[in-house]
Symmetry: C2
Subunit: 418 residues, 2 copies
């Protein structure tokens, strides 16, 4: 696939690195940051980042609307976060035990997140969702878990996107419901057996990659909470993607609904590697019974960065900032598309925007849009939600909108070619 003729000319270093990578990394790259399914124009390797801007290895500069798929929430190299990380780094990072900031961080999370009475820390979002299920199983003495079909809760065998390398037994306890569909949850409970359900895992809204996003129906959310209470099972909230972007506490708190356990990662330390499981008092004893750990789980620098990040998020009124900037982006993109006569769907919270084109099942329009944006120095993704940070400003939105004119034009041309 070559979306932009001659792109090699401005991609000499990237092309060279890809060639070298292909010899020593399977497929040249793996995971969610592989450009394998992106238009060819996308760089695979990055040189530096600052604020909302990133530079690829060939010196091309971009406004980044992916925020490294979520971790960047305050802007790259946020002064307050970097100062906290540097101060801790000057003392110590991986040591024979945690630093005092581990306690500060746990206290801060317990203060900010309504349902949280305690915290456990890990590295990956997958660690956090997996530990949540282990705690639920240890507390309830049951094994079945209900998850929304198509939802992404991590890359461990019980959850990953593909079945390659996964033994069927590793999914034997998983049952699936449809997000926002109460009767599908009830069916999944029947299938699992009401007495066997340890947990229902869900996300604050539906953000399955490759699909339009869907806000949660409050009645569905309330019913999930009620069903868990009735079953005496744990409601587990996967906040990995959403955490602190939608609310300064848990994402369902504005609706007055609290989970029993929640999994956090990505944005909580503005790019430093950290994950957390938060839970209600009732689950604290079970959390002491499971054995989970990792060589780097007590690293001090990411915890110091997390304390600074969470404080800065509130001090900068980050959720409101992201809502305002994201709201403007959505409104003006909508207006532009209307003016140009290009039908689009914009879904999900404005700070985690998702753009799609009606009928674009093969993502041809989305790819054309993204490639044109990229050419004009704006990084978005054709089949995954984008992320705003508190550092994105009106200048970034202006640049986005300028590029979007070409992006929508490119999408329309695909239409013409149909």
């Amino acid at each position: 696939m070559t979306d932009i003729a001659g792109w090699e000319k401005v991609r000499a270093h990237d092309t060279d690195l890809r060639r070298r990578a292909a010899a020593v990394i399977p497929g040249g790259m793996f995971g969610h940051m592989s450009v394998g399914r992106l238009p060819d124009a996308y760089p695979q390797f990055y040189e530096r980042s600052e604020g909302t801007h990133v530079w690829d290895v060939d010196g091309n500069e971009y406004v980044d609307l992916m925020c490294s798929f979520g971790p960047m929430i305050l802007g790259y190299k946020h002064p307050r976060v970097e100062a906290a990380a540097a101060a801790q780094s000057a003392k110590g990072d991986t040591q024979p035990g945690p630093a005092p900031c581990m306690v500060e961080l746990a206290e801060l999370l317990v203060e900010r997140v309504a349902h949280a009475d305690w915290a456990i820390f890990a590295k990956n979002g997958t660690d956090a969702t997996t530990i949540s299920l282990m705690v639920a199983r240890a507390e309830t003495g049951r094994n079945k878990v209900l998850a929304s079909a198509g939802a992404y809760h991590g890359a461990a065998p019980w959850a990953t996107l593909r079945m390659d390398g996964v033994a069927p037994e590793e999914r034997a306890n998983m049952h699936y419901y449809e997000y926002n569909n109460v009767s599908s949850v009830e069916r999944a409970i029947d299938e699992a057996g009401a007495d066997n359900v340890a947990a229902i895992i869900t996300s604050p809204f539906r953000h399955d990659a490759g699909f339009d996003q869907e806000d949660v129906d409050p009645a569905f959310a309330r019913r999930l909470r009620q069903l868990c209470d009735d079953l005496d099972a744990a409601l587990v909230m996967d906040e990995v993607r959403t955490g602190f972007r939608l609310n300064h506490g848990g994402s369902w708190e504005p609706m007055g609904i609290e989970p029993d356990l929640s999994a956090w990662s990505k944005g909580i330390a503005n790019g430093y590697p950290l994950a957390a499981v938060l839970g209600r008092r009732r689950y604290a004893h079970a959390a002491t019974r499971i054995f989970v750990t990792g060589s780097f789980w007590f690293q001090a620098v990411p915890m110091a960065a997390a304390v600074a990040t969470i404080e800065a998020l509130r001090d900068e009124d980050a959720v409101a900032v992201m809502e305002r900037v994201g709201g403007r982006l959505r409104d003006e993109l909508g207006r532009l598309a209307d003016e140009m006569g290009v039908p689009i769907n914009q879904t999900g919270p404005v700070q985690m925007p998702n753009l799609s084109f009606p009928g674009d099942v093969e993502f041809a329009k989305a790819r054309a849009f993204s490639a044109a944006m990229l050419e004009r120095g704006v990084i978005v993704h054709p089949r995954h939600n984008w992320f705003l940070s508190a550092a994105h400003d009106d200048g970034d939105v202006d640049r986005f909108l300028e590029a979007a004119q070409a992006g929508l034009e490119a999408a329309r041309e695909v239409d013409g070619a149909d």
Copy 2:
């Protein structure tokens, strides 16, 4: 348990942090760095680290013979590693894609480790062992895995130390053999069914916590390789604990035996969070089929640190340095114990020493030894192997031996009390 009367006096900050932690972290602390099973004298929280020395939050200084349970392999704040990390950090860390150092690191690992044709990176040692099994399953189309009973291969449900929170189905494909016992492997193959075996996972030597360590019998190693060849299954080497401490390549290379896949973490980036799976060409395609990823897996700083670490390890002749210093520690501790008439067992490679006392099944002597060492400013562990780094020197060994006189005395007193 109070091993040292009045220790609270010099533990005011640690005691205060433990009290606060108990309110917001289940059990006050979790995982392998919890002091829950250590003598009371041990600090839970650390303030800073430098070279081979660490300081607890009350300002007490120690020679650290645990190396953060392995990650520290060149000394805390090793100048070359820190310079590489700082240089990368000034550019970028978590970005929308990897930095060029990812390719450099993969090339370096492929160059250094004989069986490695490719590398995949992750965060936890558990990620690396889990991915190795996924690759083996994807390639062979089989699901059964043989592991040594009692070996620690990670904290995921398939491997963790306790069954709390683990559904039995998550272990349904695991079969167990006894390390260094060929006929037990053959029995496990029969049990699993020869046609069903995807992988045999093992470690370079037996280092189960709480037991004397055991060198691998070369005949056993050769037979494992042969059995995997006969079964057309993957031999997976867990190098997480041993990696680059025993050899500058794979740990069995001096014996001429190569695995198909290997899992690395801990020391490969001198404390920065990183894990790697290395594999043979045959398994590269399977590695492209599985979906594994993590929000921080493409973080650039740990990869830059890893390149610097692996280069420095060879330039400093680190394995030879650790062997010399570890050899002196073992010899002189043995001589001291002989002189004092205290029977001890020292097992495993000298750079990963394990001390036990014959008949000390409840670890009372080991605890008394460790508590006395701690009081004298030396951190060891009563039931887990210790780790040397290339930064440990004769001064550290002198201090260890001085403390060990009191440690052995304390162990002998437990004997008297039997």
